[in-house]
């Protein structure tokens, strides 16, 4: 395990801690709006759903960004072999981020009174656009913050000719992060044009920028954790980024099907966004290859758990669930229903949230100089948030399928008493799985905040010994088997896609939901279960690896063995 060689790496700690606190609050807001879905009268008129949801989405974005910043600051000096440029600016960036978060939380509540703070034709306090709810004042601070981050990264990096693909990925990522934000800071009068530009920010951030930062950071973390070959990782980063943009640039068209833009987007969007999972399959495959690089047990189990979770949920949430609703013929049904948050929750928390948590698990023990830490809490927390989020996605997806049938196909009214009670069971399931998620989130926030600060008398992680034969479940995961798991996921994804497609059938339109219900009932639980089992299988395989220097013959060393110095 590496030591902290550069003092400015320590600046990343505060961003990780801020990330954890914001994450905790975001989960609480999410739980609150999930309960409001069950009983819409809860807090109605006091804290309206739209205010709480704006907090939920905004905090989600802010803590993911905080995690990105922390990770970039942590790896920046390692990539550059020198201290970060302008540590004073980074300290300012932290306080600016904290201030803008508090300001934004406060101003969102003005929506209940219709106060947007119009001045010079712009809404300065809050602007009521999904994901871009922050007002202009906050937007400007956020822009300055992005510019500082980009400047620090570019100033820290070595001369251009020494850059490898990871440098390029991060440099392009932080610059584009700043640039794309500019498309969201104007009031647009036309609804179609406003939605057109709003997706510039939302889609190109996620699909064009965050994905690039994600690929670069995952790549470098794998280099750090598994001594993976920088060249091989660089190859993966280049082609990953290239595929993200080749598919995602025009893939943005899948947001332009129904917002009042012309029909030809349906062709371009269906075609190119169907290719969007390609880089994710590629990334997925590379984590399989890279994790097998050093063939040793995990030193820092929680960090790798969350990286794996990030890449797998990217595959399942963004790749497969995104694929199912990316065709004009399926999107016409899924659009604007609960089917979409199923994809959004898995993709956003899974891909980007888990990466931030993984980085925190990697960096915080190093930053606090902890040689041994009890990894059990982190592992339990991973399974809780992972299973909790899969459950939430399941509830959204099935509830959404019922909603599509009753609301769109049958044309029943929303609050008139039909759609709402029909979804009630799944509405209840969301906060139920939300509680599982909350338990995991609370656990990992507690674990990471106090890691290295807890009483030293805590029981040391024991070395448990396992029988020589790891059994079928724990045997080494080979490429063929990983490929079969992946194929299984896509087969369930195909069920889901066909299920959404089947809403076009006359039989369904005339009132028989059997086909879409059966396909969704097979597809969603199947996909989410196979995902859970695959991650379990992958980790079991890694944990069963013998540690070469200490293991007695025939004895596998336990994974909870502390990270070695």
């Amino acid at each position: 395990m590496i030591k902290i060689d550069y003092q400015t790496q320590r600046l990343s700690l505060r961003f990780f801690l801020l990330m954890l606190v914001l994450f905790g609050f975001q989960v609480l807001f999410g739980l609150l709006i999930a309960v409001q879905h069950v009983d819409p009268r809860l807090l109605s008129g006091i804290l309206n759903f739209n205010v709480l949801r704006a907090e939920h989405t905004n905090l989600g974005i802010l803590w993911i960004l905080s995690g990105f910043i922390g990770t970039i600051l942590f790896v920046g000096p390692l990539l550059s072999r020198r201290e970060l440029a302008a540590p004073g600016l980074i300290r300012f960036l932290f306080w600016a981020l904290l201030a803008v978060t508090l300001w934004n939380i406060a101003t969102q509540s003005l929506a209940a009174r219709g106060v947007a703070g119009w001045w010079l034709g712009q809404p300065w306090l809050q602007e009521g656009l999904e994901y871009l709810e922050a007002g202009r004042a906050a937007d400007i601070v956020i822009f300055v913050g992005f510019a500082i981050l980009a400047w620090v990264v570019l100033r820290t990096f070595p001369a251009r000719r020494e850059w490898n693909e990871i440098h390029w990925g991060l440099a392009i990522g932080v610059s584009a992060l700043t640039f794309v934000w500019l498309f969201g800071v104007f009031f647009v009068e036309r609804l179609d044009l406003q939605e057109y530009f709003r997706w510039y920010v939302v889609h190109y951030w996620v699909e064009g920028v965050w994905e690039v930062i994600h690929i670069s950071l995952v790549g470098f973390l794998l280099v750090l954790m598994f001594k993976a070959d920088v060249k091989a990782v660089g190859y993966a980063v280049f082609w990953g980024v290239a595929m993200v943009w080749l598919s995602g640039l025009i893939g943005n068209a899948h947001h332009y099907f129904w917002i009042g833009t012309p029909e030809f987007w349906q062709f371009w969007g269906s075609l190119f966004s169907a290719l969007e999972p390609l880089p994710l399959v590629f990334c997925f495959w590379h984590i399989y290859l890279d994790a097998h690089q050093d063939r040793r047990p995990l030193e820092n189990a929680p960090a790798f758990y969350f990286i794996l979770g990030s890449v797998v949920l990217e595959q399942v949430g963004a790749g497969i669930l995104g694929f199912t609703m990316t065709f004009a013929l399926t999107n016409v049904w899924s659009h604007g229903t609960w089917v979409t948050p199923s994809h959004a929750h898995l993709a956003l928390f899974g891909t980007f949230g888990m990466l931030g948590i993984a980085s925190a698990y990697y960096a915080i023990p190093l930053l606090r100089g902890v040689k041994d830490f009890d990894q059990r809490l982190g592992r339990i927390a991973f399974w809780l948030v992972f299973a909790g989020m899969l459950g939430i996605a399941f509830a959204f997806a099935i509830g959404g399928t019922i909603q599509v049938f009753l609301y769109r196909s049958m044309g029943l009214s929303w609050f008139g008493g039909q759609v709402f009670p029909a979804m009630q069971f799944y509405k209840v399931l969301v906060p139920v799985f939300g509680l599982v998620f909350l338990a995991g989130a609370g656990l990992l926030v507690y674990d990471l905040l106090t890691l290295g600060l807890r009483a030293r008398g805590a029981p040391q992680p024991r070395k448990t010994f396992r029988p020589a034969d790891p059994g079928r479940w724990r045997r080494t995961l080979h490429g063929t088997e990983a490929g079969l798991w992946l194929a299984g996921m896509w087969i369930f994804g195909a069920f889901i896609t066909l299920g959404l497609l089947s809403f076009n059938l006359d039989a369904v339109a005339l009132g028989d939901p059997t086909i879409p219900y059966i396909l969704a009932g097979l597809g969603y639980p199947g996909l989410l279960l196979i995902t859970l089992l695959f991650v379990w299988r992958f980790l079991a395989s890694l944990e069963a690896r013998p540690a070469p220097e200490t293991a007695a013959p025939g004895m596998d060393q336990a994974i909870d063995q502390a990270a070695r110095a």
Binding site: A112, F187, G260, R408, S409
Partner: protein, 326 residues
């Protein structure tokens, strides 16, 4: 820069061609984008849509200021907590929206919609001032009255003033006339809704069926001269429910949209112009017939429509008797 195993795999050339394809895609994307917003596409623009002295652009500002898409969806984007609003103006029409928006916590009764039809702006927009013709033209309004009139809604009351309501209706009129490539999909005309989810018949006493006018249909026969005071109060209670008054007024002293009625009759009322009046019977009747004549301090004007045409003298007596009993 890297090629696995050091072999010559023409990696640099491959990367160059990938970047060239990317540039081509960027060009395609920008071309399609420019094409999308050409005037020749004839997509409606909010500048061209007016309603009640407000433009759709103003309405969009109101829509954003209240973060409507934080609960609803518009062109399918938003929060899935409430229904999609893209087509609501085309379905329910301006009179229903005008009746609903100021007091969103309660579903409008047909009387409340009828009152709105007296508003010249609404009459002009809807093309009729007759409730029957209106409901024929806007089947969404008929369905809403039939199934929910007079019940509580799940939406909180928002402090929308009269101009904001008009602006929102203008914006929703704009979105209704947008061409969205057939979204949301239209349900099949011959569909058979599974029995367990078929709409239930309206509950008795819950406002009026679409074809009837609430006030006339469900209120008792006109009272004879010798009606008991107790009957008069009961009738008044029925009337304020049928007319949809309770969507905005609480029967205690709480403020909902308008002032509460509890402890109102016979007490001093502070007016917006600084004067004070006693809430006698004449004041109560005037407040119902010409709501904007005297505005209570702290409340915006032009929110409550005039109920003059819907309430005859006998009904007014009953309502005042009911208010006196609170």
């Amino acid at each position: 820069m890297s090629c696995l195993n050091g072999t010559d795999c023409r990696e640099t050339a491959k990367r160059r061609s990938a970047l060239a394809v990317l540039a081509l895609m960027l060009a395609i994307f920008l071309l399609l984008s420019a094409w999308s917003f050409l005037p020749s596409r004839n997509q409606v623009v909010p500048d061209d849509i007016q309603y009640g002295g407000a433009s759709a652009v103003e309405g969009k500002r109101v829509f954003q200021a209240y973060n409507c898409m934080g609960c609803h969806t518009i062109v399918g984007n938003g929060a899935y907590f409430g229904p999609d609003l893209t087509r609501i103006h085309a379905e329910a029409g301006p009179a229903w929206l005008a009746a609903f928006l100021p007091s969103a916590g309660g579903w409008p009764t047909s009387a409340a919609v009828r009152v709105q039809l007296q508003n010249p702006a609404i009459r002009e927009d809807a093309g009729t001032d007759d409730l029957q013709a209106y409901l024929q033209r806007y089947p969404g309004a008929a369905e809403r009255l039939e199934q929910r009139a007079g019940q509580h809604s799940l939406m909180p009351n928002l402090p929308l003033n009269a101009h904001e309501v008009a602006a929102l209706i203008a914006f929703l009129k704009y979105t209704s006339s947008m061409h969205t490539e057939g979204w949301p999909p239209k349900p099949h005309a011959n569909r058979r809704v599974p029995a367990s989810w078929a709409p239930k018949a309206p509950m008795a006493g819950n406002g009026a069926a679409a074809g009837q006018t609430a006030a006339a249909a469900s209120s008792p026969a006109p009272s004879s001269a010798g009606a008991q005071p107790q009957d008069l109060v009961a009738r008044g209670r029925q009337l304020v429910s049928d007319l949809g008054c309770v969507a905005c007024h609480a029967t205690d002293q709480k403020r909902t949209v308008g002032p509460g009625w509890g402890q109102l009759a016979g007490h001093e009322v502070q007016l917006a112009d600084g004067t004070t009046v006693t809430a006698d019977e004449a004041y109560l009747a005037r407040s119902i017939r010409q709501p904007d004549a005297q505005i209570v301090a702290g409340y915006p004007p032009h929110v409550m429509p005039s109920y003059d045409a819907l309430i005859d003298e006998a009904d007014m007596k009953a309502i005042v008797a009911y208010l006196n009993s609170l």
